[in-house]
Amino acid sequence: MTNPLTPPKRKDPLLRTHVGHVSPNLRSRAATAMAARAGQGRFVLQVCHDCRRATYPPRDRCPVCWGELDWQDQPRGAVIEAETTVRSSVDLFFRDHLPWRIGSARLDAGPMAIVHLHGDVKQGDRVRMELKLDRGGNPALFALPEKETSHMADDPQLRLFTADPKVRRILVTDGREATGQAVASALLDAGATTVFLGNADPLMRYPGQDRIEAIDGIEPVALNLTDTGSIEKLAAQLGGRVDIVVNTARFTRSGGVGFGGKLSDLQSSLDLEVTGLMRLAQAFAPALSARSDDGVNAAAAFVDVASIHGLTGNAGFAGSSAAAAARLALVASLRGEMAQTGIRVMSVLTGPVDDRWHQSVPPPKVTPTQIARAVVTALQSGQETICADDVAQDVMARWQADPALTIREENK
């Protein structure tokens, strides 16, 4: 069993914050391809076109018959054949986290692999493998107990591969909308210590305000993503007290490009969703990065909730999809930047939200509760990209299989 986490003591402001090192990120192109799939929560290995055997470590040709390889989902079982506890390391990050346990695992898929071990796993055990991302965004095989053990997620080694909300302080940008409120509640339910809940217009009441602000752990804050001064003021005020940022702000309006779209809607959308995202990142990325290895509530993640139609465009919601596309591009770049500092950048992708701006869209539509669940799952698993609902999953699957076709389909 794992010792349950306790919230950290108040930090001595005079102490030098622990520097968050990221391990060497030299990786082959094949390992980077593995990371891309790990980010989607998949457990994949390369399989040979000809002999069908799975191989690991990542290679560029099959070692059995020299056939071509591609990535396929694999069974997650394994047996730990040997283990060790590393007590000495030349790497600056691991030196701070010793002792570190690893093992030799015989994967059910066939190959042997060196894997990270959960504290409840030992030599001879059957385990459940997960393909995680490390702090630098590289793929990492992690062996978990086959069956859930008590406080399993609190394992100190495992927590370095997740951004679990437990004992963390989280900024949710838009409390005025149902999605932001649902996300805030779900994060507190998942063990977050505090949720700073943004309100772009504190003088105007919003629906659900009394209920959400009465919840223990919610701290309302003034935050307007279209106002650089407002963001900078909040960042200065919260400083090193935010461990995770979740951006739920949206401005969705219907309309096409040549027909029915309003330029003013597009400008509002771009200002809030695109420029707003960049304002938010510029204000909070440095403080998050400085605290990426700062104990149990180290800064861990920047999460952006955006429309899946950023991948494809969408007939009838052209402007909003364009804003989502810009958002995805910014998030991809931010992910690369933050991988250098040990902060995860995550995308929660949604289909049309069941709100007043999507009244004419037929179901299924995503509910705020589903979005909230996806945010919590992404943080708990360390997953980089997650689809919150059936529509998002469907578009993602089709886009991965055939992007050009999916773009045409979504714009018919």
């Binding site: 060497p24 470590p57 054949e81 040997a82 000495s88 030799s104």
Partner: protein, 391 residues
Amino acid sequence: MAQQQPYDGVVVCAPVTVPYTRYSDKTAHWWAGSALKELSRQTGLGPADFDGFCFSSFSAAPDTVVGMVQHLGLSPRWMDHIPTGGASGVMALRRAARGVQAGDVDLVACVAADTNQIDSFRQTLAGFSRCSQDASYPYGFGGPNATFALITDAFMRDYGVTRDDFAKLCVAQRSNALSNPHALMKKPLTHDAYMAARPIADPVHLFDCVMPCAGAEAFVVTTPEKAQELGLSTARLSATIERHNAFAEDPVQTRGGWARDIDALWSAAGCTPQDVDMVQLYDDYPVIVAMQLADLGLCDKAELSQFIAAHDFTITGSMPLNTNGGQLSAGQAGAAGGFQNVTEGLRQVLHCPLGDQVPDAKRALISGFGLVNYDRGVCTGAAILEQDVLR
């Protein structure tokens, strides 16, 4: 498999060890040049005289043997670059011997040299190989200690070998090192001190690990006529084996490539394990020494523990092992660590040891083991050297 042709018309001579240092601000080029300078002192030969050059190093980047040839003013008609670290000594020996035997070359300087600058060990580890950068070092960055901890864990369980057995090997090697003036470890090691050492990566403890250092090793492969002309004592090469990536299907490495070819080695050498006067076994970790005692045919793997208990591995013992102290006590100078078994075995059969002489030594078993590309050592080799002419 065809029977190995004998190494007629080939001799090995002029063993050189440039004294190791823990850290060095010099380059691999400087260390290689030091080894050649010492060869020159022993043989009276200069850059124009060697028509063959075989080189091994981890720290000569961006140079290979090509850069080294121009750097050191050689003009060989035969050269080779051996990237196999711990297996490079045996491989250099084999390749040079066949070159000489075929008349492609007359006089080969085989050199391994590595420097050890502050932090160069960490940098070497981080980019050591494609598989290690992708799939082993990121797992705690314990380096070879962690990889061999996994191997040791499996080996101890599978074959009933204990830390007490490893202690006996390490203590004997340390006692051998005490007569070697170049050994980096100069204090005696007791069984109790071995057992009480701090853990590095369980079950690997401090005295199971080598100390990375800078150094160079060299020897000459030539014809008997040339050696006679130069007045050098010589050894013959009785037989060799080499194997890479053997038993890839074994989940954790508990045997090496030697096990696949060992009968061919003894058969080509025309002798048995009982006929060797000493064993110079690659010793990055004692588990690899134990593995080789079995894989090289000296004992049955199931009886390793009893075999270790029954023998005395010191220089005057029943089975002298790593008589210069091995890497565990003399230091691991990168690829030179793969040469020092050859130079020490050669010195013992030529009766010019650095430290104490194995009494009446005539025949040495030498092994190599190299390159943890991912989760195990990939390259293995072994050779038997016999005294030829003492001059």
